[in-house]
């Protein structure tokens, strides 16, 4: 079973310059964020939630972390059903990454929240994801550049919060062009509509929307 790429919202046909037009399945994507913030996680949850209905079959999501403090109601608010997620807790980074590898090899989609990601670990995850055909996401609190950066992950992002949304910097993309993209998050309402990600062309645009 081949899964389509995870779509990224685009505006006026100007999505981030990715060859598949989204986050490719069968590959690992790394998302980084600033220490103490969880913008990268919220960004990913919104992406998964938005793709949720469009994904064929029921690909279960495995979520591993050494400190498992994801809050299910918050995921449900963003439109991702936490009932379908396997939450797992690893002793340390190595155990979390090994668990993610098992899940990816078995065809699941996987999220791991870790501190570090060595080149070897990234390579192993990439191979497992290619074998299983699901998406792997490694979430870290890290700087834009680290000495262990490798080309094993298909994309590498640095996500920062911005007023009313996110500033997503594509640091590396296999076969694609890096760049900076802005996304706005719509306010969800209390009954049906979960918040949604909308691409906006530039910062100023976003500022204006946030103000108005």
């Amino acid at each position: 079973m081949t899964l389509p790429p995870l779509p990224l919202p685009d505006l006026d046909g100007a999505p981030p310059q990715l060859p598949q037009g989204g986050l490719a399945a069968g590959a690992v994507h790394e998302m980084r964020g600033v220490e103490g913030g969880f913008a990268h996680l919220a960004f990913l949850v919104l992406l998964l939630a938005q793709a949720g209905g469009a994904l064929p079959g029921e690909v279960p999501v495995l979520w591993v972390s050494a400190l498992q403090n994801a809050y299910p109601p918050g995921l449900a608010w963003l439109g991702l059903d936490p009932g379908k997620i396997f939450f797992a807790q690893g002793r340390d980074d190595a155990a979390c990454l090994a668990s993610l590898e098992v899940g990816l090899r078995g065809g699941m989609a996987g999220i791991a929240e870790v501190g570090g990601l060595s080149r070897l670990a990234a390579r192993r995850l990439a191979l497992a994801a290619r074998e299983g055909g699901g998406w792997g996401f490694v979430l870290r609190h890290a700087a834009r550049r680290t000495p262990q950066d490798s080309a094993a992950c298909a994309t590498r992002w640095f996500i920062e919060p911005a007023p009313g949304g996110f500033r997503a910097e594509l640091l590396y993309a296999k076969g694609g062009r890096p760049g900076v993209f802005f996304y706005e998050v719509t306010e969800g309402d209390h009954d049906k509509t979960p918040p949604a990600l909308i691409a906006v062309t530039e910062w100023a645009d976003m500022r204006r929307r946030a103000a108005g």
């Binding site: 079973m1 103490g36 913030g37 969880f38 913008a39 996680l41 919220a42 960004f43 949850v45 079959g57 029921e58 690909v59 279960p60 495995l62 403090n69 994801a70 809050y71 299910p72 109601p73 918050g74 995921l75 449900a76 608010w77 963003l78 439109g79 059903d81 936490p82 009932g83 379908k84 997620i85 396997f86 939450f87 797992a88 807790q89 690893g90 155990a95 090994a98 668990s99 098992v102 899940g103 090899r105 078995g106 065809g107 699941m108 920062e160 919060p161 911005a162 007023p163 009313g164 949304g165 996110f166 969800g188 209390h190 009954d191 979960p194």
Partner: protein
């Protein structure tokens, strides 16, 4: 019942002795435990507080265990109740001065039958072994157990692996024949020094896939210390569930994710991987209930109000500049970093569930009120903070951070 089955380690023949006893037929078995005294010590070491009596007949053992001195085999000083007679007969016999089994034994049997019915004589005969007594022995449930004995003790990992593979290959077809799959599987290694290390596998879904079971067993084999060698290896499916035979389908097969789930379950342990289920409560920290991954998922209702994606295990105190009485903060500092608030929504008031607690006059419910705000700082980072208590209450209000929106 469980006790009777447990006692089958002493003898294959065990029977229930209601309400709370077990008969063990140890004929020809006691020498395995160092004679009758050794057997008694063995049982007492494992079941402290148990009353153990060994006698030639079941009725005598029953009476001795319940009414006798520990270790004694003499029936004579026991009260009549030790024969299992009913209360009316005991009262009648006591009226003529017969209180002990020994006194009953001295009476002529014919007169006893004439005066008190056949029961006392029959019970007495059963206790003394001159009349037959039927016991209904407990039958063990069908055993999903395979055992391999070795002429020479083995200890090389490759040999142990081969033994496990052989046992799995024997057990799985049997399970398939009964349309069952294992949900708990135990491999026990009988070491020459009488230790018994074991491996337990848990499965997210019933499983009888040989390759998968062998792989999981081998992964855990390194936790087993074979010591000076292993005499025998046993593989038991402790818990089984029905599993329909696999069918070849023309449609695209439904993807099966039980394999990675099983691997993770056994690597991390059953407490370390879970699904979540909603609990009907308003208190944010109690909303989530963990549920084993072997159970099917339960969809989660989308909440009516905004909730963070990360929740601190315990709310953390923050220092805040906020207008009184009930405005969101304009500035708060947490862990040495201050955040200027640009946007805030709220309050959402969440009170303690008073109906679950004893009422305490010293701590009124207003102390337990939390007013939650979703706040966004100048960088766009969003937090879930709350004010505990109300202004003008018995205690000054306090602010806490409880979660992160991103």
């Amino acid at each position: 019942m469980a006790l009777a089955l447990w006692c089958q380690r002493y003898s294959p023949l065990t029977a229930l002795a209601p309400p709370d006893g077990v008969f063990i037929d140890i004929f020809g078995c006691a020498h395995l435990f160092g004679g009758e005294a050794g057997l008694r010590a063995h049982i007492l070491a494992r079941l402290p507080g148990a009353r153990v009596a060994i006698a030639d007949t079941a009725q005598a053992a029953w009476g001795l265990a319940r009414f006798g001195e520990p270790g004694s085999e003499d029936l004579k000083p026991l009260p009549l109740a030790a024969l299992g007679l009913d209360d009316r007969t005991i009262t009648k016999l006591r009226r003529v001065g017969i209180r002990r089994v020994g006194e009953l034994m001295r009476l002529p049997r014919a007169e006893l039958t004439a005066g008190y019915g056949p029961e006392p004589v029959r019970k007495l005969a059963q206790a003394l072994g001159s009349a037959a007594e039927s016991l209904e022995f407990v039958k063990p449930p069908p055993e999903w157990r395979e055992i391999l004995h070795f002429a020479e003790p083995i200890f090389a990992p490759a040999q142990l692996q081969a033994a496990l593979a052989k046992l799995t290959a024997r057990l799985c077809p049997r399970l398939a024949g009964a349309r069952l799959g294992a949900t708990t599987l135990t491999a026990v290694f009988f070491r020459v020094d009488a230790r018994r290390p074991d491996i337990t596998l848990k499965f997210a879904a019933p499983c009888r896939d040989e390759a998968q079971i062998i792989k999981l067993l081998q992964e855990k084999l390194k936790t087993v210390d074979p010591g000076f060698g292993v005499d025998a290896v046993a593989l038991t499916a402790e818990q089984t569930e029905t599993l329909a035979p696999a069918q070849i389908s023309l449609e695209r097969p439904k993807p099966d994710f039980s394999k990675p789930a099983n691997t993770l379950l056994n690597r991390l342990g059953p407490e370390k991987i879970w699904r979540v289920q909603e609990r009907a409560t308003h208190v944010p920290e109690y909303v989530t209930r963990r549920r084993p991954i072997s159970l099917p998922p339960v969809p989660w209702q989308r909440p009516n109000f905004r909730r963070p994606i990360k929740l601190l295990e315990k709310p953390d105190a923050i220092s805040v500049i906020a207008p009184v009485p009930d405005d969101p903060p304009v500035l708060f500092s947490w862990r040495g970093k201050s955040h200027r608030i640009c946007k805030a929504t709220g309050p959402e008031r969440i009170a303690r569930e008073w109906w679950r607690h004893e009422h305490d006059n010293a701590r009124p419910e207003t102390e337990k009120i939390r007013d939650y705000y979703a706040v966004e700082d100048a960088d766009g980072a969003k937090f879930w903070v709350f004010r505990a208590g109300v202004h003008g209450g018995t205690k000054p209000v306090q602010w806490f951070i409880h979660g992160f929106f991103g």
